[in-house]
Amino acid sequence: MSSLLSLPRELTVYTVGELHGRCLEALSAWSAPPEDALEVDAAEVEEVDAAGLQWLLSLSYGAAGEGREFALAEPSTALRRACEALGMNDWLRACAVDPSPGGRGSMSASFGGMA
């Protein structure tokens, strides 16, 4: 399984608008079979605020709306902390995917490259 996108280092209100636009583009170009989970790579996230979390949540809702699973691959410590602080632990538990050896890397299309 490959991640649709990697989340940037800064997932805040300052980056979320741009990220949103790119994500919509990526999704429209994405033609995975419906049983595939929508996965995002969250290992890089170092800085996150409520706007960033809210956007992630919205992304997961969007996936659920299409009947897909949503997977948050290797959520970073910063992201885990923020989820906890905002009372989103259950949501995080439901969609976090533990790191698996070789699970990510060259396959994941980096978002920065697409823009």
Binding site: A50, Q54, A85, M88
Partner: protein
């Protein structure tokens, strides 16, 4: 360049704005304190008071005004205890707080000069702080004895709060992060039962990623006061609906810092959004958010920029009138039409722009609450101030310049007019005196009336004084109305003992000249034993009016359009013209005094065969003015009359017409006096009594 320089520059540039905003907070504080005297338990007032002090302290800190911050901190502490119910408001405490407020105001006044602190002021501040501390200490000590709320423990005990907050869409855009607020609250105490309401977050295709859709509900166990917790939301106040209730919780908080809701169900609590609407508690909070929203609808504009716009507008009005005139001369229909359209747009802009300067007079009136309170207690009198028509609007520059004369008149009423409670009861009046400030619009002017139900003015005393001062020949008794006018003469004072408040004899003539400088008039009436009224009539604006242009011979005159009732054809007068060019004509069976401008101003032209009479209303009476030609409506930019023409009675200003000619603007009020004053005797009254347009209202008309 060192890093401090730009900071210093920024602070110097922003300081005036801070001072003016903080002064507004000080004024608000004063009003709130005075209102609090009537409703000592009003939670909203208490909250607002605290917030004002908090704001002053907070922004003062940004500017490094240590004295201000230090002093305001003590005031804030006391206000916090007040709203926590630990201290009860007493008249003495109210006075103390008002004095503290004055002190804050004084500190603000010297904010720009950090070194200007004299020993005396510092000592006064120290004394106030000592008093504040004493009150605070006793308050904290006696907290248990009279708790108005179900639970009012002294600071230091753990209290439990249940908070629910729903953030507005713009929260992120305003740079606020709910996460940071939660973090801040975690520093105040321990957060538990945290539930984030995620239900409102839309799916990806509908979300605006920069809008906030979040809400939270959580419990907070903290030793902090309600104010401190509430303060966490200060920066999102306008953007959120906050509900905060204190809850009973006997057990110790279950969760320690850092381990918040791992075991709690984080399913969206359906109640978060709904409860804020249905619960009774947040009414105050939402109401406050409402007023805050209203505040943001204002833009601060520098007054001189506005003045510059209005000056330009005056030029525009004149230029547009000139263009219209030229267009008419060309007799080209389309050009005339285009000019008419421009003229109507200019008129709309004019009205809109002048509206910008209009402010309600209520703010000025409200300042007198404090004056009345302080002076009445100083004089040991019981006086209530009633304000009527506070929402009446008039030009800001007029409002500013009328405040001083009003102050003097109010002080006069308190000092001389109103009696002590004992005297009032002896005179068969209610013990509490009544002072009324009223304002209303009347035909293009604003009327302000200061009335009291005191002892009234003793005409004999006035006359005695006037004789003694040589204002009137000894033994001569002028008409009743004229006697009262003597009070406005320079150097007149009836007070038997000169007090610190009034009666220095520098007052009433200054009041009159201030009002005249605004093109206004002042009139006084009094009924012995029943009270007195002072009525001030002011023009709505000092800049531009709608005028009605007429001509007599080659001279052009302008009436304020508001005062023109009708125009009739000239008819045969019932009486012959007298020496001042006046006659009476019959209008619908009633006599109408008519002025002939040729006679009045000795215009050296012959009358045409046909002429008209413009009927002018002035208060309850009307009069006519004979004119040769009616030239129609005219947007009139008022220019002051030069000194040379000041002695001309009946004129209030001049205006430049589109073709460069000068027209004189009538002062309807004095013109009316000219029309109705008795023909011969009036010439015998001292000339200065009636000079240029002021103070000479005849009372039966003024009422």
């Amino acid at each position: 360049m060192s890093t401090e320089d730009p900071d210093a520059g920024f602070i110097a540039a922003a300081l005036p704005a801070f001072v003016s905003e903080a002064q507004e907070q000080v004024e608000a504080l004063e009003q709130l304190l005075l209102q609090l005297e009537d409703r000592p338990d009003d939670r909203e007032l208490l909250d607002a008071l605290f917030r004002c002090a908090h704001t002053i302290k907070g922004s003062g800190g940004v500017f490094g005004l240590d004295r201000l911050v230090g002093f305001t901190h003590h005031v804030e502490t006391l206000l916090d205890q007040l709203r926590e119910g630990q201290v009860r408001l007493s008249p003495a405490l109210s006075t103390l707080l008002l004095q503290c407020n004055d002190q804050i105001s004084a500190l603000l006044a010297v904010a720009a000069t950090p070194d200007a602190d004299d020993i005396e002021a510092a000592a006064r501040r120290e004394a106030l702080v000592t008093q504040l501390r004493t009150v605070c200490d006793t308050g904290a000590g006696s907290a248990g004895s009279a708790p108005p709320q179900k639970c009012a423990p002294a600071g230091g005990t753990l209290r439990h709060w249940r908070l629910s907050v729903r953030f507005g869409h713009d929260t992120f855009r305003h740079g606020m992060d709910p996460l940071a607020i939660l973090d801040y609250l975690r520093r105040l105490g321990s957060v538990s039962e945290l539930a984030c309401d995620l239900a409102a977050v839309p799916a990806l295709d509908q979300i605006d990623p920069e809008s906030c859709y979040l809400g939270f509900a959580f419990d907070l166990a903290s030793e902090a006061s309600r104010a401190q917790i509430d303060g966490a939301f200060d920066f999102v106040r306008d953007d959120c609906v906050l509900q905060m209730t204190e809850i009973e919780k006997s057990s110790a908080p279950r969760e320690a810092f850092g381990r918040t809701s791992a075991d709690e169900p984080t399913a969206p609590t359906p109640g978060v959004g709904a409860s804020t609407e249905s619960a009774p508690a947040p009414a105050a909070v939402t109401a406050r958010a409402g007023t805050a929203l209203e505040d943001t609808r204002y833009i601060r504009v520098q007054a001189d920029r506005l003045d510059a716009v209005i000056n330009m507008l005056g030029e525009l009005v004149t230029a547009s009138a000139g263009a219209s005139l030229l267009a008419r001369q060309t007799r080209q229909g389309s050009l005339i039409e285009a000019n008419l359209q421009i003229a109507s747009l200019v008129e709309e802009i004019r009205n809109g722009t002048l509206q910008l300067r209009m402010v309600p007079i209520g703010e000025t009136f409200a300042r007198f609450r404090r004056v009345v309170r302080d002076i009445a207690s100083e004089l040991d009198k019981d006086v209530t101030l009633e304000i009527v028509g506070g929402d009446t609007e008039l030009d800001k520059s007029v409002v500013e310049r009328i405040a001083d004369p009003l102050m003097h008149l109010v002080r006069n009423s308190l000092d001389h007019g109103l009696e002590t409670a004992a005297q009032r009861v002896a005179g068969g009046k209610p013990a509490q005196g009544r002072l009324t400030l009223a304002a209303w619009h009347e035909s293009g002017s604003i009327l302000i009336r200061i009335s009291d139900d005191g002892r009234g003015i003793d005409r004999d005393k006035v006359l005695q004084r006037a004789w003694a001062r040589g204002l009137v020949e000894p033994g001569v008794v002028p008409a009743d109305a004229d006697i009262l006018k003597l009070i406005f003469e320079p150097g007149f004072s009836t007070a038997e003992k000169v007090t610190s408040l009034s009666g220095r004899g520098v007052g009433m003539d200054v009041v009159r000249s201030n009002i005249e400088a605004l093109r206004g008039t002042v009139a006084l009436s009094s009924e012995p034993g029943r009270g007195s009224h002072v009525e001030i009539r002011l023009p709505l604006t000092l800049a531009i009016i709608d005028g009605f242009l007429v001509s007599v011979g080659s001279s052009k005159f302008i009436f304020p359009l508001d005062s023109v009732v009708e125009v009739i054809e000239r008819r045969t007068p019932v009486t012959a013209l007298d020496a001042q060019g006046r006659c009476i004509v019959e209008l619908r069976g009633r006599p109408l005094p008519v002025l002939d401008l040729r006679g009045l101003y000795a215009l050296d032209t012959s009358a045409p065969d046909r002429s008209s009479v413009v009927v002018i209303r002035c208060g309850p009476s009307s009069f006519g003015v004979m004119v040769d030609q009616l030239l129609g409506q005219h947007q009139t930019v008022i220019k002051p009359l030069s000194r040379m023409f000041r002695s001309l009675r009946g004129m209030s200003g001049s205006s430049i017409l589109g073709n460069g000619e000068v027209a004189l603007i009538f002062d309807v009020h004095t013109l009316n006096q000219l029309a109705v004053e008795p023909p011969a005797s009036s010439r015998l009254t001292p000339r200065q009594l009636n000079h240029t347009g002021a103070s000479a209202t005849i009372y039966s008309q003024g009422q």
